[in-house]
């Protein structure tokens, strides 16, 4: 034992040298810190590169895995489906009635009353629900119709919602009607009532409008209210809703069933529901499945290739490149919906209440499928949802669906945004440290002239000394920019702005770019012995942005990725201007940042309208986020380059 200790001591001495071990430790730590500091630009570059390249690699055909059913209770595709041509005939009859209602421009009330009448004739209790929203200068009215088919043998503690909105999701609610979707729901009600094997209540909802109707219904169902919503209370009660299926069938026939699953604020349903419906559709009903309505040009030869025409032919025909393009299209659409927090269909409104919901979109075509196939898919899917004994919890809630039957787990894509955030964090910390030190070159003592010249060049001593870093002023600047952002949001969501969006957009852009410019004149520059305000401001800005990206990444990865792309490089490389730099160059740099911050006011008025509408009606926090968080961050970076350091 003693010998072992001797040997160990000798080894330690050799490795660490003689002398005081504490001194040696401090020397080691200093050496490490130096190496880290000197390598910081390289580390930063590495993190940025890996992060961005990872983001680009996400759609690669080498990543991803197959979807599978995780919840054992679901047992999808195990049942016979008895929905047949009689039921299709009934759906056709209902469709004819609905078309008549459409043709004579029936009001919402009349349509809802028709639905209620159909339900009541079947013996299913049904009611209407009127609602109205005050949103952005307009009043949205409508009437929902809903019916509750109580479970014949169970206690009805749980419910499944089967819904169809009056307006289809085509063109994100451009006014196309969803008549066949409504007919399917009404015909389904008649058919499902014949069976006594429902362990959960079935709630049929024919919601008015596109998203507004269901928002009114589901909020009232869960007892939530909004200040700008007035909705009649629901007189028919049912149980806790675990799953919901929304049907969207705008065309005459369909060739594929597209699955839409994005919810408000970037929430996703449990993947098991998607996988079950996909399996049932493909194997039991013979209807192929799509992600969204993206038909793969590799399967439908008449569709144009996804790759641009200027791509070299060899690459265009490479299967990996084609796969990359298909996946990239799916991911792009998913990022588009989720980053904006927008729901890709009526199903998106359910996720906020922990209801797993998807929309089955019948992709319009001259194709082979119609009410028959759709009814069978729904029947089997409802039997599967019926089998559930507890909320779906087994499969994934965070995923990127890259193709029908292919997905990526969170670990495959999340680190990309986190790495970019980390790079920004290191930059910010580097700036903070930098701001705290100033170096001066001290001249050696006077001596002989000739000797001095040689000695002077050799013995120029670089001395580092600490300096005070002003913290209060940068924080005040940050707070002021955020308050400015809040003011911007208030103005953007006001009715004044929505009156003439384009014009007012330009006005706001100029105004809010000018305000920081003007206010920067009143910022007193810090004394020379202290660190400059822009330097410290840049440090805080980067650290805050990094924290923002990291936190958002686990809530809403597409939003975090978008922030990483938009903020990563501009904020890290915000040039601090030396005190002697001319004003025009500084203003030019600031103008670039102002465009990055506020350019959307000018260039994307339609997006602004949608975002504000989403906030008003659906409480999507994308609009306030952009105004109160994103804009100030970029403006701060602009101020970094504007203020003289």
């Amino acid at each position: 034992m003693g010998k072992v200790q001797d040997v160990l001591r000798k080894v330690k001495q050799k490795l660490r040298g003689d002398g005081n071990p504490t001194v040696a430790k401090i020397r080691r730590q200093r050496a490490l810190r130096d190496r880290l500091w000197r390598g910081l630009p390289f580390i930063r570059l590495l993190l940025f590169t890996v992060g961005y390249v990872w983001m680009l690699v996400i759609p690669s055909s080498q990543l991803g895995q197959g979807t599978y059913i995780d919840e054992n209770a679901l047992q999808p595709g195990q049942v016979n489906m008895y929905w047949n041509w009689e039921e299709v005939h009934r759906a056709d009859q209902i469709l004819a009635d609905l078309e008549q209602l459409r043709d004579r421009n029936a009001t919402s009330d009349e349509i809802a009353q028709y639905s209620v009448a159909v339900f009541e004739k079947l013996g299913i209790p049904a009611r209407t629900q009127r609602y109205s929203f005050d949103a952005v200068g307009q009043v949205i009215n409508g009437t929902n119709a809903y019916a509750v088919l109580q479970s014949p043998r169970a206690s009805g503690t749980e419910a499944i919602i089967i819904s169809a909105s009056w307006l289809s999701r085509t063109g994100e609610g451009d006014g196309t009607l969803n008549l066949r979707g409504v007919s399917t729901v009404l015909a389904l009600a008649e058919y499902l009532k014949k069976y006594s094997l429902w362990a959960k209540d079935l709630v049929f909802v024919i919601s008015d409008g596109y998203l507004d109707g269901m928002q009114a219904f589901i909020s009232t169902y869960h007892g939530e209210s909004q200040s700008n919503m007035r909705a009649e209370p629901l007189s028919l009660q049912s149980g806790v809703v675990w799953t919901a299926l929304n049907i969207d069938y705008p065309g005459h026939s369909f060739s594929h069933l597209g699955l839409f699953f994005d919810g408000l604020n970037g929430r996703l349903p449990n993947q098991d529901l998607l996988n079950s419906v996909s399996l049932i559709s493909r194997h039991s009903a013979g209807v192929p499945i799509l992600i969204y309505d993206h038909i793969d040009p590799r399967e439908a030869r008449n569709l144009p290739s996804l790759l641009p025409s200027w791509f070299p032919k060899a690459l265009k025909e490479n299967p990996d490149v084609q796969e990359y393009a298909a996946r990239a299209r799916n991911i792009y659409r998913q990022v588009n919906y989720q980053a904006r927090g927008a729901a890709s269909g009526v199903h998106g409104l359910f996720h906020q209440f922990r209801i797993d919901a998807i929309t089955l979109f019948a992709v319009p075509a001259n194709g082979p499928h119609g009410f028959h196939a759709l009814g069978r898919v729904l029947e089997s899917s409802l039997r599967t949802c019926n089998n559930l004994l507890e909320r779906l919890h087994a499969s994934f809630f965070f995923y990127l669906l890259v193709g029908p039957g292919l997905f990526m787990k969170i670990g495959s894509y999340l680190p990309s945004a986190i790495l970019v955030g980390t790079a920004m964090l290191f930059s910010g910390l580097g700036e903070w440290i930098n701001a705290g030190w100033i170096h001066s070159i001290a001249q050696p003592a006077q001596g002989d002239h000739e000797e001095n010249k040689k000695v002077a060049t050799q013995a120029a001593v670089v001395k580092w000394r600490t300096r005070h870093r002003p913290v209060l002023q940068p924080i005040v600047i940050m707070v002021l920019t955020h308050l400015l952002g809040a003011l911007l949001f208030f103005l953007v969501s006001s009715s004044w702005f929505s009156a003439r969006r384009t014009m007012n957009g330009i006005v706001l852009f100029l105004a809010f770019s000018a305000i920081p410019l003007a206010l920067s004149q009143v910022v007193p520059p810090s004394p020379a012995s202290h660190a400059s305000i822009p330097a410290v401001l840049k440090a805080f800005n980067l650290c805050f942005a990094s924290a923002l990206i990291s936190i958002t990444a686990v809530l809403n990865f597409p939003l975090a990725a978008t922030l990483a792309v938009l903020l990563g490089l501009p904020l890290t490389f915000a040039p601090t201007s030396p005190p002697a730099s001319p004003v025009p160059s500084r203003v030019a740099k600031y103008a670039a940042y102002a465009t990055l911050a506020l350019g959307w006011l000018v260039f994307c008025p339609e997006e602004v309208r949608k975002a504000v509408w989403n906030w008003e009606v659906l409480r999507v926090w994308f609009a306030p986020f952009v105004c109160v968080v994103y804009v100030p961050l970029v403006l701060q970076a602009g101020l970094v380059s504007l203020l003289p350091s």
Partner: protein
């Protein structure tokens, strides 16, 4: 004098009669068959929920077979962890089928479920086996075996390496069952047996709770469950070896779930060819095991069993 002669003659006649009867009687009692006088069965389905329909069908199928072959309800303890027949998801309410032909309703007439729903716990199962039940437990829920009873224990559910899952919340291990069976072998039971001299006395009778025990289990890795038995007179069989799953046999597309497990299906199919007077032996039953059809490797553990399997009738345990 004459009376004495008559008495002697009478005595010798009696002796002769007794002697004459003794041989066939001795033969009857002494043949190399089982020495049991009554049969009991403990049938346990340990899993609940709709998608475990097949486990309940397993247990009910075995119940029907055992009743058909002659064990009365009073001698059967049926434990079903859930009610598949009255589950709201059942398209055929009140019926449990074990094949998709749906020709035989296992939940038809005359079913007596002794332990139902949440009463099927590890504790209750072990109490039933060992006899350590509360005084308030009714006779129909007790295993009132004696040392001349042949006991058939059948268990089905979800299992693994040396455990069986009960009710989604607890497990019974192979050691627990082995110890319970050991207790059955050693258990001294109080028997109310008034003697002629003292009519009100209770006499403590030392008797085991089983004569021979046949343990059958159908779960994943089932054979591990009987690997820990150490009591004599136990014959055990299971549906699959370690690291092997047991598979369901058939899905019914109207009920929507699997309705019977492979192993139990083939065992019951064989049992359909057995009736009360059948001379088929346990070896015949085990010979019908076909791993290719069952999709797993059933096993048998005969080392604790004293008799040869060729001399043990199937009806020794099943009827």
């Amino acid at each position: 004098m004459l009376t004495l002669f008559r008495l002697a003659f009478l005595a010798s006649c009696l002796l002769y009669l007794v002697q004459a009867q003794a041989e066939p009687v001795a033969e009857f009692f002494g043949r190399q068959g089982s020495s049991h006088t009554n049969n009991w069965a403990v049938l346990v389905c340990s899993s609940r929920y709709w998608f475990n329909y097949r486990h309940m069908a397993n247990a009910l199928g075995m119940y029907r077979t055992v009743k058909r072959l002659g064990i009365p309800d009073s001698n059967i303890i049926l434990m079903l962890a859930d009610d598949a027949a009255c589950n709201p998801r059942n398209k055929f309410p009140g019926c449990v089928y074990s094949s998709s032909a749906k020709t035989l309703d296992l939940y038809g007439d005359n079913i007596e479920v002794d332990y139902r729903g949440y009463e099927v716990t590890v504790e209750n199962f072990l109490r039933v086996l060992t006899g350590r039940v509360e005084p308030s437990v009714p006779r129909s829920k007790r295993l009132l075996t004696d040392d001349r009873s042949n006991v058939f224990i059948y268990m089905t559910g979800h299992g693994g390496n040396e455990f069986l899952k009960f009710q989604d919340s607890e497990e019974i291990s192979a050691f627990d069952i082995a110890d319970a069976v050991a207790q059955m072998w050693e258990k001294k039971r109080q028997v109310y047996l008034p003697s002629l001299s003292a009519p009100t006395d209770r006499v403590l009778n030392a008797c085991t709770r089983y004569n021979e025990l046949f343990f059958m289990i159908d779960t994943c890795q089932a054979n591990t469950m009987y690997s820990k038995f150490y009591s004599p007179n136990v014959l055990a069989t299971g549906s699959s070896v370690i690291h092997e799953n047991s598979y369901s046999h058939e899905n019914d597309r109207d009920i929507g779930v699997a309705v019977i497990d492979s192993y139990t299906h083939y065992v019951l199919e064989y049992m359909e060819s057995i009736n009360k007077t059948s001379q088929a032996t346990m070896q015949d039953l085990f010979d019908t095991y076909d791993p290719a059809k069952i999709h797993s490797h059933p096993g048998v553990r005969p080392d604790l069993f004293p008799r040869s399997l060729r001399d043990t009738l199937v009806t020794d345990f099943f009827g």
